[in-house]
């Protein structure tokens, strides 16, 4: 395979990916509007504000660390730990004036976590790799000079849990170690039962899984604008879900919330400078 066809395939895959992210974002936006028509009304009223706005579009990518906030105090030798993930998005910026802008960033974001067994049960774990399509809508407050700016983002987001993968090892009760307790005294669970390693797609359960997620998002960052109007930025971000990852399907349910810290880098291109004032 020559370089051209490799690049062409990469380009096609990227295009396909962003198309899916875009479609999912629009679906998400539609669902948000359906659930809260007030958001749509506010947006319509805001249109005149944007009439003089500068319009930026770009690309961002980053890494994050997500924690699942829940209560499992009844479970012995079991901890929920945070896990790293990635995010990629298409930031869109409407700059109303030199200090205020509206920012949206349809993105794909992982919100991962790990369940670990400890003590005698060490070796049993499950990595939960959860992919979300997320649409944050933020207000951006900037300070600094024309080239180097600091800014703070604050807003809300809606997300849809589009994929899940579970990877780990579990104790396999019907695959025992035959020598356990007859010739060998096990020091860990792996000496008693063979551990079953797995790495498979998570099967969503429509009774249990709440795939829509809403929350707030806040970020702080700096950006640098080059002469041709391209802004490079680096931003620390926190997304804080206030919807349970589970539907309310049982009494005395311990809720589960995603809480994610991340760092993103990216660029924004001034569409006016590229395409001229529209």
């Amino acid at each position: 395979m020559d370089h051209k066809s490799i690049f062409s395939q990469i380009f096609k895959r990227c295009l396909k990916f962003f198309f899916r992210v875009g479609v999912s974002s629009f679906k998400l936006m539609f669902m948000s509007f359906r659930q809260s028509p007030i958001i749509l009304i506010l947006l319509i009223f805001c249109i005149p504000i944007f009439s003089k706005a500068q319009f930026f579009i770009g690309l961002e990518a980053g890494a994050n660390k997500n924690s699942l906030i829940t209560n499992n105090s009844n479970q012995a030798f079991t901890t929920y730990n945070s896990k790293n993930g990635i995010s990629i998005g298409l930031p869109i910026l409407y700059e109303v004036n030199d200090w205020f802008a509206l920012r949206a960033a349809p993105s794909y974001m992982q919100k991962n976590y790990t369940i670990n067994r400890t003590g005698f049960f060490q070796g049993i774990y499950q990595d939960n790799i959860n992919g979300y399509v997320q649409l944050p809508l933020m207000g951006q407050f900037s300070f600094g000079d024309d080239q180097l700016k600091g800014y703070v983002n604050l807003g809300l987001y809606g997300a849809y849990w589009i994929s899940g993968r579970v990877k780990g090892a579990e104790s396999n009760i019907l695959n025992p170690i035959d020598s356990a307790y007859t010739t060998v005294t096990p020091t860990t669970i792996a000496g008693e039962n063979h551990l079953y390693p797995y790495d498979e797609k998570y099967q969503f359960n429509s009774i249990k899984d709440q795939r829509m997620e809403f929350g707030w998002i806040a970020g702080i960052g700096i950006s640098y604008e080059t002469a041709n109007g391209t802004r490079f930025f680096i931003e620390g971000r926190r997304t804080y879900s206030f919807t349970d990852q589970q539907k309310n399907y049982m009494i005395n349910q311990a809720p589960r919330y995603n809480d994610t810290y991340g760092i993103n880098v990216g660029f924004l291109m001034d569409m006016d400078k590229i395409f001229g004032r529209y």
Binding site: S73, N175, Y249, M250
Partner: protein, 401 residues
Amino acid sequence: MKKILFFLTRLSILGYCFFILINFTSCRKDLAQVNAPQNYPGNNFSDIFESFWNGMNNNYVFWSIDTTNWDQVYKTYKPLFAKLNLLDSTDNATAMNYFQTMTAGLVDSHYNLTFTTLNNQQFSPAYSRKIKINTVTPDSIYGLPQAMFDSLIPAKYIDAGTLKKGIDTITQNGSPTPFEAVSGTIQNNILYLYFSSFSFTQSGPNVLPVLNYFFDTIAKLPPTIKGIVIDVRGNGGGEIVDLDYLLGSMITKPLTFGYTRSKNGNGRLDYTPWAPAIVTPQPGSVALTVPIVVLADHTSVSMSEITAMAIKTLPNGKFIGTTTWGANGPLAPSVYFNGGQFTAGNYVSVYTSSTMFKYLDGSIYEGKGVPPDIFVKETASAYHFGVDQQLEAAITYINSH
């Protein structure tokens, strides 16, 4: 002045935003404490009910297939338990009745309640159901008499010179229990093994020679042997590792015959992926090609049923008898799988499976029982005439293959 106003405007917008975010933060539900059921003090019936209900809510492994509406149980029985007095004997009897009604429809056929403060009285939903079915079936035997294995089979079916029989006393659930095994050949061409429970590792001077005879014969199977009969009728189950000793001597490649899964969270529907249930070949094992028949019936429980399913999976395996008890989920202490058995408020001990079992074809037989390949029923009248209909069906099957 203009600059100050400008600065204040920005600051107030930021302030409003933070105010809104802080308010949204409080949108989260409280992360209420989840307590292990054994940690409830159990000083009154409200506390005992809470510990029992929550223990079941978090530990019971069959919520994905069980039809009991556990939320409705909470709504119905919480106020009823609140009216009861722990110091009143009539109220204790009422409470026991409530526990039985709440759990009567549970699919877990290992399920058993022991009321520790009420002279260890017990209740098994599966047993109650089976007894009812049995009483409406004419000419049925609920459980085969022990004399079937002690006398009838050794005297009538086993070739006299080959009979090996022994009984040891072992400890099961803290109590001394007889452990019996019978082996020998039938019509000089069928190797037969009966054992009363899966307790091979506890076998003593009387049972061990019986097992050694059977496994030694398997290891050097005479060409005259045309088939094997493994009899687990009336066998209540036992140690998991025995399955490897038993079937692992007859195969040379690992045998996957089903899957298990356990809870991996507090939610009723939080499960691990399905892990394959595997029989591991033993050192010196041989790949048997002759028919292997397992005899099991409606009183074959737990490991007996798992053994029947493993044998069904073999290309030369056949299950003859009646549908088994339906308790297929293996058990372990609750700490192993964060699920299964527990004690509620020091009042009632709950014996329940730690894992759910699924047969190789995807069927879950919990609460239903494993259906035989060839249905043959034991009747009271046949037994009184000294006939073991199921064993005779096995002999006929082997002789015709």
